[in-house]
Structures are given as C-alpha cells and as structure tokens.
C-alpha cells in the first residue's frame, strides 16, 4: 500500500463498566487503513467488532469508555480530541454506516430530512444545494430520489441500507466505517449491495473498514482482512493470504465452517465450544479452550501477534522462537 | 269574634325602634356549599332564601320566637271569619315596588292565583292541602276563602309567601313559565334590591322606595358565597362578616374569644330525636318498654354538652321545644312520667321486662347522616349511655340520599333525625305524629317516619285548627302527654337557629331579650325583619 495510512489505531482498549466489573470488549487492537483501502474485519458475534468501530469514531457512550490507546486519523488523535473539533471532522472526513439501518435512521424523520440534517451540521447550504446533493447521492446508490420524501419504515431493508450509504457519502469522506451493513439482507440483495459498495469505492476513492461475521462475504472484496476473537486481533493480513493459508487455528476453523456450493462435499467440523466471556477471559491464549491444537502452555502464555509471511497471527504455534524460526518482534504493526 | 289587630303587638324596648341614621354595610356569612346562581324567583325552593325577606315581603310577619307576635307588613290588618274559613286582608297604602310602580291588592290576588295555576309554585300546598278556594281583590281588600278552618295555615300564607308584582310577572318570560323563571333582577317591596349579583357575591343595596320611612338604615348588604364552613367561620371570627348562621366547632375558642364584640345566640326551634320504628315488623322498637327504657336512660343534658358542645340545649320527652314554646309545656307531667331526670335503674328494669340485660343485650342499629359531625358525637354519647341497660347500639351513618330513602320507607330500627317546625309546636308534632303523614313500610311516608298511628291523637290535631288560643294550648299539652305515654319518638336535643353576630359597628341584632325575629340568615322572611332593625354605629 502506498503512502502513510490515513487511520492508525494503536493499542485501543475499550471497557464496559458493569455491575459485575469491567468488561474489556476491545483489548489492544492495532489497525492501519490506507487511502482507498478496503479492510474487512470478521469475527464471531460479541467479539468486539462494533465496539471497536464505535471507539474509532468516538461514538461510545456510557457505560462504555476508551481506556487506552490512540486513534490517529489524518494525523490527529481522535481519542483526546474535544467534542467540538470532532464534530467538524465527523461525516466530512469520516462517516459511519450502522448495522441495522432500521434502527440507525430516525424513524420520525424523512430520509431527505436526515440528509439535510447532516449537511446543515457542516456548513451553510441553500435548500436547492441540499436537494441537489441529496438527489445526487441517492442516485449514486441506485435509489430513486423520490424516496427522499419517504420515511424509513416505508423503504425495504435493502433500500434503507442503501440510503444509509448514500448518507455516508454526502461529503465523499476519506473513510467510511461500515458495521455489518448487509447482515439483515438476503443473499441476492447482499450481493448487489456489496458490488455497489465496491464500485462506489473504486469511483470515489474512499477507504472502507467493513465489519461482518460472514467471512465469505468479504473474501472477494477486501484488501486486508482482520480476524477478531475475544476482543483481540488474532490474525491480520492480505485477504487472499489469510484465506489461502490461514495461520491462526481460529481462522482455519472459521474457514472450515463454510460449506461450499461448488467444491467437493466434505465433512466440516466448525468450532466446538462458545466464545469467551469478555468479563472473565480465559488465561493465556483466549482461543485455547476451543482450540483443536492447543498445547499446555497456551493456557499460560498470552500470545502476541507474530509475523507469518505477509500476515500476522496471534498463536503461540506461530511464535518464531517456538517453531525455531528466526525471532520476529512480537506485536509487529499491521501492514507489510 | 276574636280578631288580631297587630298594631299593638310590638312591645320591644324603645332603643331598638328609635330612628337611626342611614349608612354602613353588613356582611353575611352563611355557608351554602355553592356559588350563587343569581336567581331570585321567590318560589324556587333552592334559592328563595336570598330573595324573600330581602326583596319580597309577606303580608304579615309572625315571630315564632315571641309567641307568634305579628307585625303587619304588606297587609295593614286582617279579619278572620267566625268559622275561620275566610280571611280578609286590608292592603297597605302607599307601598311602591322597587321599580317605582305602585303596589296594590291586585298584586296580592295575582300572587296567590298564580300559585293555583302553577302548583309547582305552591310550596306550602295552599290550594291543595290547606283548602284554599279563591283569592279575590276588591279595592284595598283581598279575600281568601277556604274549604275548612284555615287558621293553622295563616303562618304559611300570610308569613311565608312573598308577594310579587303583577306588572312584571304577567308579561314575557315570567308570564310564560313563572315557575321556572329565573328572575335575575327581582322587583319587590322589600328593604333591599339586588345590585349586582355575581357567582361569588350578592350585593344588596337599600331600596330607596321602601315603604317604612327611614328604613333600612343599613345601606348595603354583602352576601358572599362560601363553599365551606371553614372560611365562612374564619371571616366571622375576623369580623370580615358580621352575621353568621352556621355551626362553629369550638365556638368559644374560635369565635367568642377572638373579640368581645363577637356574640352568639342560637334559639332552639325544633327537636332532634331518635325515631324508633313502631311498625310491628320491628319487634324490639315497636315494644313500648324498650322505647321507655331508651327515653329514661339517655342523659339529654350530657348529650347536649358533649355531643353539641353545649350549643344546643337538651330536649324533653313531650317534644315541646323550650324555652321557645314554654307556654305549651307541662313540666309536672314530665316529672310525674319519670322523664325529668335520666334513670338508669328504671331503664334497666324496663329492659329486663322486655327480656334484655347487659349480658343479653338488645342489638340495635341507628341510622344517621354522614357528615353531621355533631350528631355523630351525640350518638357516641348515647351509645355509651345505652350500653349499661343492655342495648348494644350500632351507629350507621349513611349518605344523605340513602338515609332519606331508608327513613322515608321505614327501613330502619332507629333513626336520628330532626323535622322542621313552625310558629307553635303544633306544626312539628303534627308532622311527626299525625297518622295521615305516615305510610306503610316500604312506601314513602311524608313526615310520620316512625309510623305512629293513634286516632285519639289525630283527633287532637284535628280540633286544633278551629280552636281558640287557650284550647290550642290545652290540646298541645294533651299531645305532649301522648308523647310521654306512647314514646313514639325520643327527643334528645333541640336544634337551633344558628346565629352569631358582631357588634363592633352593627347594632340592632335580635337577642334573647328582644327576640323580634328568628335570627339566622336562613330564616325567611325573618331576614327582612332583622335587616330593617340593623344599623351602623359609625354612621350615627
């Protein structure tokens, strides 16, 4: 990837304060996003994907709070930024598409009104300008601008998601954060939306951080793939590398959980057990209780991210010292 | 033929009748529980108290508290026929209506004939009950003919009916339905005129055309609406109002102690009594011994003292209200009947004869009206007094409507109640004891709720109408004796005309020494008398 990353996340930590103690939902995540890049983030439900995204956009509200780390966007640390400055930057440079458009759109305001809202928060526009730009972005995502007058509940699921994306593209930001924008949709609709996002990205050149729990969905679209487990990044690398040669047993397990519609029919196993409770994560490697290849010291030693070819993996088995390979620095930064 | 010429009856001290200068304002504090409707139709029983006496005047005023002393009002005199079936009024000259029109005998005849035409207006059933046959005017005379001796009704037709102006009531809305006409701007002969009336206050101003020269002295009367006793009493205590007409709890501390000029005088007028159910279907209360026992056991003065806070006097078993009607009262009969003092021993014995004792008590329930706090307190005392003689009394307070229903239909063992009266005990006792006022259990009785049916007593009442004064007194004593003998009801205390007054600026109030009229603001037409006597000290 050329140039410096537009987004640099370092050692990001987020906790939920609960009655039963702190739940560390994001635990030391590092992430780099370059101009125009498509970064896929996958992981099971509850592994902290949404929390991480909201932390990046500084959208967490109590009881969640960022307890450490930095989010540097265009050279500014969002974590320490004042709300006022943040508001200037939001949506112009960094926009968000949320998991469920039904909930993320204000149910009592028309789509047009919500677009206008966003525009008016970032400058003075005449009514005509607003109308024009709104119609423009709506057409961009393939919705008839007549729907600007519609209310969210009057649109189908797919249209709502598209409208959300249209809204995110109002100012042609540098980075769009997407939290499972397609998970409520049908395969067919999902497919067409994905293609559209990719197309828009090619056209407009923004970078995307795309969260999903469906690994196969991003397989064709993302440049970088980040696999999360239990609040941590367990594997990160170029998408194809991760798919072709998954280094972490969890990634392998995930891949093994997808039956194919074209390949030979083989028996798949999935991953037994269930994800860890982030309030009391298991000692050592977090995946260790479900890991088919776990060894004794996995229970004791918390692995770091180890470089494995073009990717990095958080598995002791990938520890170069263990494998006898030349020692790599643990906790290497993401990216080649 | 006895005739009453009333010019001589007024024997009040001079200073009261001495001429006064005009001026000053009186404020009445008499809780009504509602704001004013500003209707002054004197035949509307819901609000005639605000017009009769103030605006409308009767033919003759009868002073109940002073041996029926009569004051000629719109009639300067009258003459009964010998059989008392006909009466001729001589109508006063020189009276004008408050709108300046002259008053005449025609107006009087018109008034009474209107009552015939609209029975709803005939509040005292003159045409239906009293046997009125015709009312005619000729010159300054008005003649009323009755089908029977009508002397007892004199109080009603001469004293209670306010005379209305023909020239107003024979035109327009008033003529179309005089019974429901609102009469918002009443024209009368009385001392005052309404000006103005609002929901919160009626203001009366002196009638410049008033026929009693120089009267009224007071130039303005304020009659504010009170929704509750509390503020009404407060205004009295603070002398914001001078004329009070309601029960004041703890009157000594709350009212009298506030100022040396605060006074109270509440003359007794009727009885508050225990009404036992005499119908045979009520085994216990229809038993004479039980009633006698109750009558003997109750310490009436204690009830009056504790229950009524001493503001109502004790009653006696004859039902003659004393001292108001002492003339009819036979004290010796009472003591010889053994009711002069409470007698627990005798009562216990009587109960024993009926088969009850302290260990085998008679369970009785007495109904009363919710919210009559003094009655409740009285009953509490009665309950305590009846316990030792073997009566276990349950007090059952009922909502007014429910109480009425049960009382009228005879659905009770004992009821605590009081009935209205009149210028002599005859009126109250006839209501209570006359058999035609009764009805079988389950039917509404008009007054005789205890269902006392005694032809002998009926006869006494029948004779009264045509009888002369002395006979009337004797008849009443005989009726008192029946009360002692049969104990049809058990009078406990005497209910009074509530009256409080302030003498800081206002003089001329009726007092015990000079009871020239019933003093309460809810006694009509007595209010007219009081209002023409009051004067402002500061204006003199």
């Amino acid at each position: 990837m050329p140039g410096a990353p537009i987004l640099e996340v370092r050692d990001l930590r987020v906790e939920y304060a609960t009655g039963g103690g702190a739940v560390r939902a994001v635990d030391g995540v590092d992430l780099d996003v370059h101009q125009g890049e498509f970064v896929g983030v996958v992981g099971e439900s509850g592994c902290g994907k949404s929390t991480m995204l909201f932390a990046i956009a500084r959208l967490l509200s109590p009881p969640a709070g960022i307890t450490g780390g930095s989010v540097v966007f265009h050279g500014q640390n969002l974590v320490t930024m004042a709300e006022k400055e943040l508001n200037v930057l939001r949506w112009r440079d960094l926009s968000v598409v949320m998991q469920s458009a039904m909930n993320a759109l204000n149910p009592v305001a028309s789509i047009g009104a919500q677009l206008r809202d966003a525009m008016e928060a970032h400058g003075k526009f005449t009514a005509a300008q607003v109308r024009e730009r709104s119609a423009e972005v709506m057409s961009l995502v393939g919705i008839d601008p007549v729907h600007l007058k519609s209310y969210p509940h009057q649109l189908s699921g797919g249209m709502r998601q598209r409208a959300m994306i249209a809204m995110a593209l109002l100012f042609t930001p540098d980075l769009v954060i997407m939290d499972e924008p397609t998970s409520a949709l049908d395969v067919v609709a999902q497919r067409s939306l994905m293609l559209q996002i990719k197309e828009l990205q090619r056209e407009l050149g923004f970078a995307v951080v795309f969260v999903t729990h469906d690994m196969s969905l991003v397989s064709h679209f993302s440049d970088q793939l980040l696999v999360m487990y239990g609040g941590q990044v367990v594997e990160v690398g170029p998408t194809r590398t991760v798919f072709d040669t998954p280094a972490h047993p969890y990634s392998r397990g995930l891949l093994d959980a997808f039956p194919s519609i074209r390949g030979p029919r083989v028996e798949l196993t999935g991953i037994p057990g269930s994800p860890p409770d982030l309030g009391a994560p298991p000692s050592g490697c977090r995946f260790q209780p479900r890991c088919p290849v776990a060894e004794d010291d996995c229970r004791v030693i918390a692995p770091a991210l180890y470089q494995v070819g073009a990717a990095q993996s958080r598995c002791l088995l990938n520890d170069p010292r263990r494998a006898g390979a030349p020692a790599a620095e643990p906790d290497v930064e993401v990216g080649p | 033929t006895p005739s009453h010429n009333s010019t001589t009856t007024n024997s009040t001290p001079d200073d009261i009748n001495a001429p006064r200068k005009k001026g000053g304002t009186v404020t009445i504090s008499n809780e009504q529980g509602q704001t004013w409707t500003c209707q002054f139709n004197p035949f509307n029983p819901a609000n005639y108290l605000e017009s009769v006496g103030f605006v409308y005047e009767p033919l003759v005023f009868v002073d109940l508290l002073n041996n029926q002393a009569e004051t000629p009002m719109l009639a300067s005199s009258y003459q009964w026929s010998a059989d008392k079936k006909s009466i001729v009024f001589t109508i006063r000259d020189g009276v004008t209506w408050s709108d300046g029109q002259p008053f005449s005998a025609d107006d009087v005849a018109f008034t009474f004939n209107l009552l015939k035409q609209y029975p709803a207006m005939d509040l005292y059933s003159l045409w239906t009950g009293a046997g009125l046959q015709s009312v005619t005017a000729s010159g300054n005379k008005v003649t009323m003919n009755f089908s029977q001796a009508a002397q007892p009704y004199f109080f009603n037709f001469a004293n209670q009916v306010g005379i209305i102006p023909k020239h107003i009531w024979s035109t327009g809305d008033a003529a179309a339905h005089p019974d429901t006409w609102t009469d918002t701007n009443p024209v009368g002969t009385g001392p005052f005129m309404v000006s103005p009336c609002s929901a919160n206050n009626i203001q009366y101003v002196a009638n410049p055309h008033y026929w009693q020269a120089g009267k009224p002295y007071i130039q303005k009367v304020e009659y504010p609406a009170y929704l509750d006793n509390g503020p009404a009493n407060l205004d009295l205590a603070n002398n914001k109002a001078q004329w009070g007409s309601q029960f004041i709890p703890g009157i000594k501390q709350f009212y009298l102690a506030k100022s040396a000029n605060n006074h109270t005088w509440s003359p007794p007028v009727t009885n508050v009594a225990i009404f036992p159910n005499l119908d045979p279907s009520h085994a216990a209360t229809s038993k004479l011994a039980v009633r006698q026992a109750i009558a003997s056991a109750i310490d009436r003065s204690k009830v009056a003292l504790i229950g009524e806070g001493g503001q109502q006097p004790a009653a006696n078993q004859t039902g003659i209200v004393t001292p108001t009607f002492s003339k009819y009262y036979d004290a010796s009969a009472v003591s010889s009947a053994g009711y002069a003092k409470p007698n627990t021993a005798k009562a216990t014995q009587l109960m024993a004869s009926a088969g009850y004792s302290k260990s085998n008590p008679l369970k009785l329930s007495i109904i009363t009206i919710t919210g009559y706090t003094d009655w409740a307190a009285s009953l509490a005392v009665i309950k305590q007094e009846l316990a030792p003689i073997g009566i276990d009394l349950t007090i059952t307070p009922l909502a007014q409507q429910t109480f009425d229903d049960k009382l009228f239909n005879g659905d009770f063992d004992l009821a605590y109640y009081g009935e209205p009266g009149g210028p002599t005990p005859y009126y109250e006792l006839r209501q209570i004891l006359y058999s035609k006022n009764s009805a079988p259990i389950g039917k509404q009785a008009s007054f005789n709720y205890e269902r006392y049916l005694n032809p002998d007593v009926d006869k006494l009442f029948d004779q009264y109408a045509a009888a002369d004064d002395a006979t009337q007194v004797s008849l009443m004593k005989q009726i008192g004796a029946a009360m002692l003998r049969d104990v049809p009801i058990i009078p406990v205390t005497e209910s009074v005309d509530w009256f409080q007054y302030n003498t800081t600026d206002i003089g001329g109030w009726p007092t015990e020494d000079n009871p020239y009229a019933q003093p309460s603001a809810f006694s009509v037409p007595d209010t007219g008398q009081v209002l023409t006597h009051l004067y402002s000290k500061s204006a003199q």
Binding site: V14, E15, A17, G19, P62, P63, A64, G65, I66, T67, G68, V79, T80 | N229, G230, N233, L234, P249, G250, Q253, F254, I306, T370, G371, T373, A376, A377, A380, V381, Q384, I395, T396, P397, L398, A399, Q401, T402
Partner: protein
Amino acid sequence: MTSLLVQPTAATPAPATTSRRGRGGALASLLRNRKATVGLAIFLVFCVLAAVPQLFTSVRDPNALSFVPSQQPSGAHWLGTTALGQDIWAQLVYGARQSLVIALVAGLCATVLSVLIGVSAAYLGGVADEALSMLTNVFLVIPTFPLIIVLATYAGKGTLLVVLIVLVVTGWSYGANQLRAQALSMRNRDFLESARVRGERRSYIIVFEVLPTMTSLILANFLGAALYSVLTAAGLQFLGLGDPNSISWGTMLYWSQSQQALQTGMPLWAIAPGACVALLGVSFALMNYAFDEISNPALRPVRRNRARRTHS
C-alpha cells in the same frame, strides 16, 4: 383501536427475567436496590402496625370519645387528641390496617382482573380481543374519580367492601391495557408457537407459558394498583364518602377537615394521617420504581465511570 395502548415502559420480560434470576431471584435484587429497601421497610413497618396495633398504644377502642377533646401533644397523647376526644396516635396506629387491606386487596383484585382481561384479549385475538379492549378502553377513558364518587355516594354507606369494589372496578383497566400490549408482543414468540406446535391446550399456554414470563410486569402492575387504591381510597374517605365510623387514615382526615383542625390549632390531626397515606403511597411507588430499574438496567443510577474520565 390499538393506538390507545400505553406501551409498557418496562423492558421486555425476557431480559428482565434473565437479569433478575441471574443474580439469585427477584427478592435478592430488590434488596440490593436502595429505593426498594426503603420502600419495603416502610411497608413492613405499616404491616406490623396493622397486624398488632395493640403493641403500640394502650387505647383499645380508638374511636371512643374517651379523652378530653382538643389536647395538644403530650406524654399521654403523643399526637394530642381530636376535637371529639379521641387519641390521634391510637387512631393512626389502628388506621394502618384498613389502608393496608385496601391497598393489598384492591391491588390484588384489580391485578387479577387486568391479567384475566388483558392477557385473554391478547391471546384470544379477533372479536374477543376487539370486545375486551373496547371495554378496557372505555374504562380507561371514563374519568374514574367522578365515577367513583358517584358509585361510593350511592352504593350505601361506603363500607370497606363498597370502597374495595369501586376501586377494583375502576382500577383494573390501566393494567389490563399494559398487559395486553405486553402479551400481544409475546403472542408470536417462538416459545409460545413451540408450545402450540407441541400440542398444548390454549388454557395451559396462557397460564403456564405466558403468565410466568410476565411476572415482572404483573408485579409492577400490582404495585401501581395498590398505590392507586391507597390514594383513591384516602381521597374518597377524605371527601366523606367512606364509612365515617371506620378507623382509617382517610376517615381521620375527613373528621379533621370537618372539624377544621388546621384552623383550630390542631394541625397534627390532619397532617399525621395524611403523612401516613403519603408514606404508604411512597413505599409502593419506591418499590415500583425500583422494580423498573431492576428490569431495565439502563435506568439505574450511573456513576460516571473511569473510562469516561480518560478522555473528557
């Protein structure tokens, strides 16, 4: 007809049950809540007063006119005596029973009625639902207090029974509406569908599958109905529409008002019974609100957490 429905503000029962059971039963979590503990404590105190009033006063017949009237508070009469000569403290103590009985019995009956009507309406659906919700809505919209006054005035002497009936008749509709909405939202829950497919009878499903999941709402409703009953009954008695012979706080208020206690220098006579009504009401309200907090954790008081401080 559904837009009249007041949507229950409580969270859906599933998470509610979850969070409560999760930490050892409804009672335990109630006890952990400060508002609930205060409410419960007040309630228990009144329960004790109601159960054994004779432990707290030597007076046996608090309505008897046994003392010198209108005394100021003293050692002998802690709160003084009434203008009729009754010991105010004794009346207060003995009065707890009726207020409590009214609260509990009326609350319970009204709740049972709400459950019956609300849940059946939701579950039966169709015409039955239309009819029952119509009924509910009519009772909801009709101004109840005037109705109560009319009923209580005419229905005889305002005995306890009459007051109770009146309270139940007018008090059930709000809860029924809530429960119907809640049950309606559950009607097509998979576990009910599952019971139906299993072959369970309708009655079994309503009683054993639907109701247990609504316990928190039902309990909240009971507390609400109890609060309503306490206040309304006291109001009625205050207006003199109760049984003036009974010993209850509302009746005390009625007597004190009719004897002008405030104006005649006996404020305790009016204030003390009112305070008791208020306290009992407050105890129900506190428990109810605490219940809300327990079933909807979002409402609980938050302390600004450590996390937030790092970047604010």
